[in-house]
């Protein structure tokens, strides 16, 4: 029983990372029906950029700089990869373009930071603390708190600020929002910026407990997509539930079957959910109009 609780506790932390990335997918999908296939690379670049900054600024001061970096990165992806493809209404176009940008980012990162995984200094003590017989790393608590805080901040931004309301309006009906004088093009860019910012932030959160490298994001991003699907690409906080389910499923698989198969449940879940209920567990079925 203690082992089970322990596994669940560890699963929660990694699950929140998935939720944060999946949240980023939802943001751009809501405004433009597109998403960044290079989200994992945005995460890795955020972590690596943070790693370079840490010796000069320390962990806490580095975070706002990484956020700015992620924000800019998202705008670049939108401008180069998404906007031209959306203009020519090519779905294949934006999928391939964001993949291409992801590959380029990864390759550049490999050349700048090297191909080996690096150790990210932990800002918190690395000894586990005991809570009711369960060992929890302080960093895991930071991950959960940080990811929740990030999503909360974006939600507040969307509800309270005028730009956030523009994002919500665009998500509901892009044409109507455009007719009301909202510059939907800018809103889409903004959503990409916030999305990449979330990913970069997730990168510096997760880096101290994993290793840091150009390839760290690929599998995370794919599994986060599974989470976004489980939660529904259109529905708000389903991603947290989805992230928790997947995170726990993975630690259980890793412990009871083999760490080699740790990534499998997420991917199988993705295949199964899409085969049975493509709109996700929390999504609503859309009526097709003819």
């Amino acid at each position: 029983m203690a082992i089970l609780l322990q596994l669940i506790a560890s699963g929660v932390a990694v699950g929140m990372i998935y939720a944060a990335i999946a949240f980023g997918y939802q943001l751009t999908f809501a405004t433009s029906k597109t998403l960044n296939f290079g989200q994992g690379e945005a995460l890795a670049l955020g972590a690596l950029f943070g790693l370079t900054l840490v010796p000069f600024t320390g962990y806490w001061l580095m975070i706002p700089l990484v956020l700015v970096f992620g924000f800019a990165l998202g705008a670049v992806v939108e401008r180069l990869g998404v906007r031209p493809a959306v203009k020519i209404k090519s779905e294949y176009g934006w999928i391939m373009a964001t993949i291409a940008l992801g590959i380029i980012f990864k390759n550049v990162a490999e050349n700048v930071w090297g191909r080996d995984d690096l150790k990210f200094p932990s800002p918190l003590p690395e000894e586990a603390i005991q809570v009711a017989g369960i060992r929890i790393l302080p960093m895991e608590l930071l991950i959960v708190a940080g990811a929740l805080l990030m999503m909360l901040a974006v939600e507040i931004f969307n509800r309270k600020s005028i730009w956030g309301k523009a994002v919500v309006a665009t998500s509901n009906d892009i044409d109507a929002a455009g007719l009301m004088g909202i510059n939907t093009q800018k809103v889409i860019t903004l959503s990409y910026s916030i999305s990449a910012m979330t990913a970069a932030f997730a990168g510096v959160l997760v880096a101290p407990v994993t290793l840091t490298g150009a390839t760290m994001g690929a599998v995370l991003a794919l599994k986060a997509f599974a989470v976004a699907i489980i939660g529904g690409l259109e529905s708000g906080l389903g991603v947290i539930v989805g992230g928790l389910i997947l995170g726990v499923a993975e630690t259980l698989t890793g412990f009871y079957i083999s760490t080699g198969y740790k990534d499998v449940p997420g991917l199988i879940l993705l295949l199964v959910v899409l085969s049975i209920r493509p709109v996700g567990l929390f999504g609503k079925a859309v009526i097709k109009k003819v």
């Binding site: 597109t34 998403l35 296939f37 180069l80 990869g81 031209p84 493809a85 020519i88 209404k89 090519s90 779905e91 294949y92 176009g93 999928i95 391939m96 373009a97 993949i99 291409a100 940008l101 992801g102 590959i103 380029i104 990864k106 390759n107 550049v108 490999e110 050349n111 690929a218 599998v219 794919l222 997509f225 599974a226 699907i229 083999s258 080699g260 198969y261 990534d263 499998v264 991917l267 199988i268 993705l270 295949l271 899409l274 085969s275 049975i276 493509p278 009526i287 097709k288 003819v290």
Partner: protein, 684 residues
């Protein structure tokens, strides 16, 4: 999108007789390819380059298969490297555990991978676009994980080493190979070449068969595809399985050509390279994938040689400079749009001078190539060449010949004017959440009549249409179609089953197969009359050829019937709007329907077009086909309909002859509002 008018491109319909070169372009290309492949090992004897050609041929086999999924059915698959790996491991594992050689490996590769293709098709049936991309990506990742982890089966991360492949075993018949030791070394090379040529032949035949047309139809409009009796479901599975089988063949050959398989060779990057190859070479062609394969195989070799890279970068920069300068001197409209790529191409040259080696930036180069292709060369190299040299455009007709119309356009339906209703709808209820789009509507349609269905916007006309054709499943109520062999319940059936039982339709917003010619659109409608199976298509049997000839002639006569005979070879998207509407009717007629549903056929048409349309609808009725007509043009409705039903807010408020309905106060009220009601609200 469907309603885009394209007057410019429509102005130049392709001539019915194809120009000479295009008829032979494929043949000339094949002869050149065969000559090149046959002569290559005798001209270039270096085993390194021979191996390079083998790898190109193997990749080309896979990419030709990928083109079926990407080019023809329009789905993005990121799982083909996984399928390639399954094929390679299928062959290698068979050798590792059972010492079975190349030929068994090829069989196993194709077999196992086809099974995986079915598996991959299951989610692909439910999702498209980014969802499918992610699903296939997940599939590829799972394959890699399992290959790594199932060590007892696959030897895990260590991989499997294979001995030299034995293509032909002469010792079995106690003979020496007639071509000596040097010739034996080329056996594998020629085997791969034959596999490539076989693949080209098979793909060519499949894409020109009803199967290929179904693939393109489901890409351009899945809903219309289903409503033509062509099950989107079934043909997606076919496309994935054929594509997967070719990936398996390529994988097995690859395993025996490299003589080593390892899990990491079949990852995400390879998948992206395959997609780059198919897009860069040119979708929907045979030459494109081969060119694409050559590029992705040779690129790393070129990049390894920094001098060569610098020379090429210099050439590219020079060309870019000329193109850019010309654009600005001629003040072309797109001169600012091409500024970015021109500057990038120019900047690439000094970058190569500064770098000592570009091998490390291989992926960046590939990424930039993808971006370039996606934005500036979306139809690939072959598409670009075809655009510049019209003679190389594919001749759409079979054997490049123009088709003679033959046979009756419409098969005359019996039972005209009978008293029993052809279609009976009872208490149809269609509920969307709290909204009752149809609130228990009864409708009976007598055979051989034109039955009008009118009502204000939002009254439930289109919902009724969608219920009748199976796009919506009614919440309650029944739909019964009377046929010669007894009556059939339609509610609860899929659109393609309903279409097969003789109900055809057109769409309010035109749903043509845009990238197919008018003739091909009608041929998709005729899909039901093809009896040949996939093996007929692959083998090109006489039955298949005869059927194709007959159905093309039949399609031509249908086009003549709707007045589009002269436009048979024009792609649907290039037809003027009015002609698109007529083509939709022609395509629906190809189903040999007993009941034809026309959803606002006159919407957006000019007066002369409407006159033509009414004449055609009358002719259809005279052939004994029952018509249900939804229309807002009251003169059309009043002039054509034998009987009219009026819907309002999901209820049927009136029914009768056109004249009766026109004078019904309830109908007037539904359209114009009631003066009494208005007064009441003002006083309230």
């Amino acid at each position: 999108m469907a309603q885009t008018l394209a007057p410019n491109s429509a102005a130049a319909p392709a001539p019915a007789s194809a120009p000479g070169l295009s008829r032979y372009a494929g043949l000339i290309g094949t002869i050149l390819l065969v000559a090149f492949l046959a002569a290559f090992p005798h001209v270039v004897t270096s085993s390194y380059y021979i191996h390079l050609v083998v790898v190109i041929a193997i990749y080309a086999i896979l990419i030709l298969g990928l083109d079926i999924v990407v080019g023809y059915t329009g789905q993005v698959s990121l799982g083909h490297a996984g399928l390639f790996g399954v094929g390679a491991y299928g062959a290698a594992v068979l050798f590792l555990h059972f010492k079975l050689g190349l030929w068994w490996g090829i069989l196993a590769g194709i077999g196992v991978t086809s099974a995986f293709g079915v598996l991959l098709a299951v989610p692909a049936l439910r999702v498209t676009g980014p969802y499918l991309a992610m699903v296939t990506l997940a599939f590829g990742t799972i394959v890699q994980i399992f290959i790594n982890e199932l060590t007892p089966l696959t030897n895990g991360p260590l991989g499997i080493t294979l001995p030299p492949a034995r293509v032909l075993d002469f010792s079995l018949i106690g003979m020496q190979a007639p071509w000596g030791a040097a010739g034996r070394k080329l056996e594998f090379y020629y085997l791969t070449c034959i596999a490539l040529l076989g693949t080209i032949l098979v793909v060519n035949r499949v894409v020109r068969s009803p199967f290929g047309r179904a693939f393109e139809a489901l890409r351009d409009s899945p809903i219309a595809c289903d409503c033509m009796g062509v099950s989107v479901y079934r043909y997606k599975v076919y496309a994935f399985v054929i594509s997967a089988a070719l990936a398996g063949l390529a994988g097995a050959l690859f395993a025996w050509s490299e003589r080593y398989v390892a899990p990491n060779s079949y990852g995400f990057e390879l998948t992206v390279l395959f997609l780059l190859a198919v897009t860069m070479g040119g979708r929907k062609s045979r030459a494109g994938p081969i060119i694409g394969a050559a590029i992705i195989v040779m690129m790393p070799n070129i990049l390894a040689d920094i001098e060569l890279v610098r020379i090429m970068a210099g050439l590219i920069a020079a060309v870019a400079l000329v193109v850019g300068a010309l654009a600005f001197l001629r003040r072309q409209e797109n001169r600012f749009a091409i500024l970015v790529p021109v500057v990038l191409c120019l900047a690439f040259f000094p970058a190569t001078l500064a770098l000592q080696s570009v091998t490390d930036f291989r992926l960046t180069v590939f990424g930039l190539m993808i971006l370039f292709v996606v934005y500036y060369l979306p139809d690939g190299i072959v598409g670009f060449v075809r655009e510049k040299i019209p003679a190389l455009r594919p001749a759409h007709t079979a054997e490049g010949k123009s088709v003679q119309a033959a046979g009756a356009a419409l098969s005359v339906q019996s039972g005209r004017g009978g008293a029993d209703p052809l279609l009976r709808v009872e208490q149809a209820l269609m509920q969307f959440g709290g909204l009752k789009a149809l609130a228990g509507v009864d409708l009976t349609v007598r055979p051989g009549t034109i039955h009008g269905l009118i009502g204000p916007n939002g009254s439930g006309k289109s919902t009724m249409m969608n219920v009748l054709t199976g796009i919506y499943k009614p919440t309650a109520g029944s739909v019964t179609l009377a046929r010669a062999d007894g009556s059939t319940r339609l509610d609860g059936r899929t659109p393609s089953e309903i279409a097969a039982s003789g109900v055809a339709r057109t769409f309010q917003n035109v749903q043509l197969f845009r990238e197919m010619t008018a003739l091909e659109n009608v041929l998709v409608g005729l899909h039901h009359s093809f009896r040949g199976n996939i093996f007929d298509a692959i083998l090109g049997t006489p039955r298949r050829k005869r059927e194709e000839r007959e159905q093309r002639a039949r399609a031509m006569s249908i086009l003549d019937f709707v007045g589009l005979g002269a436009l048979a070879q024009v792609e649907a998207r290039n037809l003027p709007y009015g002609k698109q509407r007529l083509l939709e009717i022609g395509r629906a007629l190809a189903l040999d329907p007993v009941l034809l549903l026309l959803d606002e056929p006159a919407a957006g048409l000019t007066a002369p077009d409407i006159a033509e349309l009414t004449a055609i609808i009358r002719k259809i009725r005279d052939a004994g086909i029952t018509v249900i007509l939804i229309e807002h043009h009251m003169d059309v409705v009043m002039g054509l309909c034998d009987r009219v039903s009026v819907l309002d807010f999901g209820h049927k408020i009136a029914e009768g002859s056109a004249r009766e309905v026109q004078q019904d106060p309830k109908v007037v009220e539904a359209y114009l509002g009631s003066p009494v009601a208005d007064e009441e609200t003002t006083h309230a």
